[in-house]
Every structure is written in C-alpha cells, then in structure tokens.
C-alpha cells in the first residue's frame, strides 16, 4: 500500500512539474486508481471542468452518455448488480443530481454499490439559491449509505477512496460525492496523502463461531428445516457454498426475488421464489418449518406477508452482514452477523450431522410437484408465461435478464429459472418502473459478450425508453422484449381483484407504435402477435448484432398467480394450481 502510494505520488509530482493540474484531474486520476472501467455520465455547467479534464485525459475508462440521468443511475445499478463492482455516475448540479434521486433510492433499497459524483455550484454561492443549486447532501442523506461534499481539494483523493470502499464493502450501497465547481477548477500544486480514515465503519465479516455452532445445533435437531437465500449470498459470492451446504444436509431452499439465481433455479431442492407471487411450495415450507435459516435476506414485507403468520412455528436463524436487519421485522432466535460466504464456509466445516428430516423433505417436494407455477395457455394469443419460457429456451437459461416492474417482472421471476447468480437484475425494494432498459444497458457494458435481455412492460418502457438511443450509440446488443398488455397490468390486476374491476387510469390503449419508435432509435424491431411466430421472432432478434426490440402482444387480461393478497398470511395463497392438472 505504502509503495503504491509512493509511486502514485511520484507520478503526480512529475505531472505537476510538467503542467498544472486541477481538482478535476485529481478526480479522474482517483477514478483510474480505483480501476474504474466504465463511467455513466451526463455533462452540465457545474461539471464542465470535469468534462474538460476528461476530454484532455487519456483515462482508461469508457464514458457512457445516457439520455437521461435516471438512465445513468439505473445503468450503473445494472452494471453493479452483474459485475459486483461499483457503478460510477457523474451528473451535473441541480436537475442533474435530482434526476438521480430515484435510482439512488433504488440502489439503497437493493444494496447496490454505486458511487455518484455530482457537480455543485461554487462554494462561495452555496446556500444562495444559485443557478442550478440543489441541496444534494440534504436530499441524499436518507437515501445513501454515505455522502460527502468536498470542501477542500486536499480531501478529494481520500474521499474517492473512502466512497468506493464504503459502497462496495459490508452491505453495499450508494455513495454520493458532491463536488463544488471551484474545487474541480482549483489548480493543484502539491500532492496529498490519500490514506483513508473510517474509524466508525468496520463491517463484521467473520461471524462469531458460537453463533455458527448454535445454528448447526438447531439444524441438527430440526424436523422441518428450510433455507431462505437473499441477495446477500450474491454480494458475498457464496452461491457455491450455499449449494454445497444445502445438498450436504438435504435442506429445501427458497429465495427472495433478489436472491433468484443464488441457488440454481432448476435444482431439485429449489422451491423458487417465496412471497407475494412466490411458489406455494416455498411459502408453505416457510409456514410449516420449525427451523428457518435466512441467509442474506431482509424479510421484506412482500416476502413475509402478514408477519403474524410468517413462519409461526419456526426457530429463526438470520445471517446478515448488516446487524440492523436482524430482528428488524421478524423475531430472530439465532442472530449471526457476518458475511454470508464466511458463515456458510464455517457451517460447512461443522461436524454436525442432521437428524433425519427426510419425511419433511419428501412432503415439501410433493408440494413442489403438485403446485408448480402454472398458467392457462391460450390457443393462439401469446400467454406471457409461455413467452418467458420461450425466451428461457432461446437463451438456454443463461442470459442476463433484467426486468421492469409489474406483472411481466413476476412472470419472469417465476418462469425464467436462473441457475447462476448475478444474472437477474430487477428493482426489488423500491419497485421502480423505468429500471429495466437502462439496467440492461449497464449489464451489457459490464459484460459485452453476455446475452442481455430486458423484459419490460409497455408502461415502464415508456418511462426510460430514450435509452434505446444509448444502446444504438454504443452498439450494445441488448434485446428488449415488451410484454405488451396495453395496460399498467399490475395496477389493473389489483383493480380487478380488489377494486371491483374499476380500471382507473390503468389501461394503455394509447401506446405508441413501438416498432416505429425502436426503428427511429436505429434498433431492429419486431412485433409478434401469435404464438407460432414467437420463436422465429426471438431468433431474428437474438441473431441481430445490435439492439433489437420485440413488441410482444400478449393476452391482455392475464393475471399473476398465485398470490398472497395484501394483509394475508403466506399460507393463504390464492390462484394456486388447480388440483389434478
């Protein structure tokens, strides 16, 4: 570390001698030092010095110009979710920064490592309602893991180091660095120490061995154990260990929405997703279990349903790197603070052998067999669930799949059975419409060779569709599938179920011509209306080198089932597969 610093310092010194450098140069150098390969940015007045420095520099990273700052931040989230690295964003002050707010909140809810650099008006006029001034620190304090306003150029290298460290370690999350214009312009005449100093931030990685022992002892005697895996397993890169552990003890595994892929979806022990639109088998396993091991999930209300009915018989063990999540929503008997992978490794090393729980395992698997996700296939029109299955087959189940928010999101979660972690990119905690397309863009930039499919709704697509142009600009081969029901389908479903079919403002019979629209953006575009055309359309889209869009017209009134109605317990699912089918 010291020598690395010394070298960097020497390099910087030589540059200072050559020609003067500014705060903006220092920032770019700091990004290079963090091995950043992609920056999602949009220029503006307060970041002009940074863009000028970028123009002059031979920085090794790509700058991606999205068409809206919301696009930047969701792209950074998609990049972060799939690569595990921090997504980096640059936006200007005022409206540039406020356009990021939704995505920063989304990243906070879903624990995504994102570092946003926002321009700010000059220090001298902060607080005077200057042109394009917004209180970025005030606005983002509740929605970031941490934020900084740079008040002295000497702090900048340290702050950048800290920002990346905070964003990517422990429970990941977004960090905002607000840089007043004068700081970016300031001429630098000396080098500064860049060691970081965070005495109040020391995430516990290694779990307490005693707590691990307690988990294993409880597992030993459990008659009805079940594992719930969340995104924490992905962040810890613990999927292998999870699989090994579950197989070793023959414990059924269910996941949260964000945990999809942490455990192979096609594995015989997999129960799929639990929760509001999760599988009956998963929800019943949790409901009846006597020992629930939560690994890296936060017991979100869409998962738990009515709390009083959640795992009423179970002893609960909760492994989480964020101690504040443990006991927040669900009473926990065995808290384990630590990294999921580290905990699983230790659990694997435990000599404890489980007592026989094969009867339970059998019963859970029978449930799974009897009540898999189901749908009524329409004769000619495209059933959305069937469409997702075709996408699955066309991509061998190996694509990076992003979704928007709504019915199509739940159908994707149910029917695209991911076997790999870090391949499912969706907005879980915040449920942000407009997420899917830019997230796919970011995911593709994280892995240029991957097949990336954005499965979006006709409503949500229209919230960020200008990012089609960004796909074209950088010739990214993202395939966009609009699951078009001419409706804000999820809203319509709730109105059908709970508001006596009063479809208040939820029908989209005035959609644009998505094919023409996509073509205007320079993408290859298709419309498909009948089942027998689906596979060939998918093939054409996937074969195309460059962005492609499919407007898939589905059965308009289809519903997402099964479902736990709001306020109900997870054992009270409606729309479970009819018997005997």
């Amino acid at each position: 570390m010291k020598t690395e610093l010394a070298i960097k310092e020497a390099q910087l010194n030589s540059r200072i001698e050559d020609d003067f450098i500014t705060g903006a140069d220092v920032l770019i150098e700091a990004l290079v030092n963090q091995d950043v390969d992609t920056v999602f940015g949009y220029p503006g007045g307060a970041v002009l010095p940074i863009y000028d420095a970028l123009h002059k520099s031979d920085a090794s990273f790509n700058h991606i110009l999205c068409r809206h700052e919301q696009g930047l931040i969701h792209a950074a989230e998609g990049y972060a979710r799939t690569t595990g690295k921090a997504g980096v964003v640059i936006a200007t002050s005022g409206p540039g920064a406020t356009n990021l707010i939704t995505g920063i909140t989304d990243a906070m809810m879903d624990s995504l490592p994102v570092v946003c650099f926002t321009g700010q008006v000059s220090s001298a006029v902060i607080g005077t309602d200057a042109f394009q001034e917004a209180d970025v620190i005030g606005l983002t304090t509740p929605i970031t893991k941490y934020n900084y306003q740079v008040s002295d150029i000497k702090d900048l290298p340290r702050i950048v180091r800290e920002a990346f460290h905070i964003a990517t370690t422990g429970r990941p999350g977004p960090v905002v660095v607000d840089i007043p214009k004068n700081i970016a312009q300031e001429v630098v005449t000396e080098t500064f120490d860049t060691d970081f100093h965070l005495p109040g931030y020391q995430p516990t990685v290694n779990p307490n061995p005693l707590q691990i022992k307690r988990v294993m002892n409880a597992l030993k005697t459990a008659k009805k154990p079940v594992i719930l895996a969340g995104a924490g397993v992905q962040f810890a890169q613990g999927s292998e260990e999870l699989k090994e552990f579950a197989e070793k003890h023959k414990v059924p595994v269910t996941t949260t929405l964000l945990g999809l892929g942490t455990f192979p979806g096609t594995h015989e022990q997999s129960l799929g997703m639990a929760g509001m639109h999760g599988s009956y088998a998963a929800n019943m396993a949790i409901y009846e279990s006597d020992f629930l091991i939560n690994i890296g999930a936060r017991f979100d209300d869409r998962l738990t349903g009515a709390i009083k009915h959640f795992a009423p018989e179970a002893k609960v063990a909760h492994i989480d790197i964020d101690p504040a999540e443990i006991g927040k929503n669900i009473e926990t008997h065995i808290p384990v603070v630590g990294d999921a992978k580290e905990a699983l490794k230790r659990m694997l090393n435990s000599p404890v052998e489980c007592d026989d729980h094969s009867e339970w395992y059998q019963a859970v698997m029978e449930n799974k067999a009897d009540s898999s996700f189901w749908y009524e296939r329409s004769d000619d029109l495209i059933s959305p669930q069937w469409l997702i299955e075709q996408i699955y087959e066309e991509t061998n189940g190996e694509a990076i799949v992003t979704t928007d928010v709504g019915q199509h999101q739940m159908w994707t979660a149910q029917f695209y059975k991911l076997d790999q972690p870090n391949r499912f990119v969706t907005s879980g905690g915040l449920g942000t419409m407009g997420f899917g397309l830019p997230a796919a863009l970011g995911a593709q930039l994280g892995d240029r060779d991957a097949t990336v499919v954005a499965i979006v709704g006709d409503g949500g697509f229209q919230m960020t569709m200008q990012e089609m142009q960004t796909l074209k600009h950088y010739n990214l081969s993202v395939k966009v599938v609009i699951v078009n029901n001419e409706a804000l389908g999820m809203v319509r479903q709730w109105q059908e179920e709970f508001y006596e079919e009063r479809y208040s403002e939820s029908l989209l019979d005035q959609n644009p011509d998505f094919v023409k629209l996509a073509e205007a953006f320079g993408a290859e575009a298709f419309q498909v209306k009948s089942e027998n055309k689906v596979r060939e359309t998918l093939k054409s889209a996937f074969e195309h080198d460059g962005p492609a869009l499919i407007d898939a017209r589905i059965v308009k009134l289809d519903l997402v089932f099964p479902m736990v109605a709001p306020g109900k317990g997870n054992h009270e699912m409606i729309g479970v597969k009819p018997c005997g089918e």
């Binding site: 005030g138 304090t141 005495p199 109040g200 101690p323 504040a324 006991g327």
Partner: protein, 172 residues
C-alpha cells in the same frame, strides 16, 4: 419507556442532521437531544432521550445509529449507574413581595437567580430531570413567563464509585 442513549460521533459536517434525520425517518420520537465536543478533538457526544415502547425498538434504534458511518459508539445507558444532568432557565413572575418566597424555593434546589427585573426574575437550575420538574412545579403558581431546558447530557459513573442516596441524587 424513556431511554437515554449516548452516541460518540465523528464531528463531520452534518452529523447531527444525519442522526436526527435517521431517528425521525424511522419513526422514533426524540424528547431531547444535546450535543457537544468531548475531550478528544474532532469527536463529539450526542445524548438523546427517546420514548420507545418495546425493547425490540430500542435495539433497532441503537443498531441503526451504530450503522451510521460517523458514529463510533452507541450506548443505551438508561439502566446503568449514571450521572444525568440537565440545565433549565426559568423566567418567573416576581413582585417585590414574592421575591423572598421564590428565593426560599431556589435555595434548597441549589438553583441560582441570574437576573432580577421589576416584575420577574430568571432562575438557573441544573440537575436530574425530576429535580427540574420539581422546581418548575413549585414555581408555576407564581407564573412562569418563559422556560427553556437543554435536555439531558449523561455519563456512566466510574466503576469504583459508590451509589449515592436518593436524596443526594435529587438535590446535588
């Protein structure tokens, strides 16, 4: 359940805002808050009094505080052996006739009279909240014109110290 919670924090800009924002966002009601520098440069101490119903909520509160990057240490000192003090300024209506009576109240509380004017005087009192409430009660009949309390600041006692009697803790 009233809890006294102390947080040792790094004195970065906006730290108070972060902490109070966190508490209100998560639905905790702050009864009082005091903040000031400590013996270590750059380190401040915040003392909160919050009203929390369940033990689970208290735990959640301390965990959420602890999670803050600027927070170094969080202690719930409610049930520890501690010294907790608050300062209160009271402007009370005082005629020449009632002044000596008020004096008679002020003295046993070891309170002080800071200012006397024609029709009022200002009393400064320091102590545990119940002591402060007691003197407010006694002064209320004379007519309180203005009152300002700082909120509690508190420490745990050194280990060697013996428990002092109730009387002393109320008055001293």
């Amino acid at each position: 359940m009233r809890r006294i919670i102390t947080a040792t924090v790094q004195n970065s800009s906006g730290v108070l805002n972060r902490v109070t924002g966190l508490l209100s966002r998560r639905g905790f009601n702050i009864e009082s808050i005091t903040v000031g520098e400590t013996e270590i440069e750059g380190i401040s101490k915040i003392t909160f009094v919050v009203d929390v119903e369940e033990a689970q909520k208290v735990e959640q509160l301390t965990k959420q505080l602890h999670k803050q990057i600027d927070v170094l240490k969080v202690n719930d000192i409610t049930d520890t052996n501690k010294v907790a003090r608050e300062l209160c300024l009271i402007k009370v209506v005082a005629t020449p006739q009632s002044r000596s009576e008020i004096n008679g109240i002020v003295e046993p509380f070891r309170a002080r009279i800071l200012d006397i004017s024609k029709d009022s005087l200002i009393v400064e009192v320091t102590g545990k909240p119940d002591k402060i409430e007691a003197i407010i009660d006694l002064l209320t009949p004379y007519g309180i014109k203005e009152l300002s309390r700082t909120g509690i600041t508190a420490f745990t006692r050194g280990k060697q110290q013996k428990q002092v009697s109730d009387y002393q803790t109320l008055i001293v």
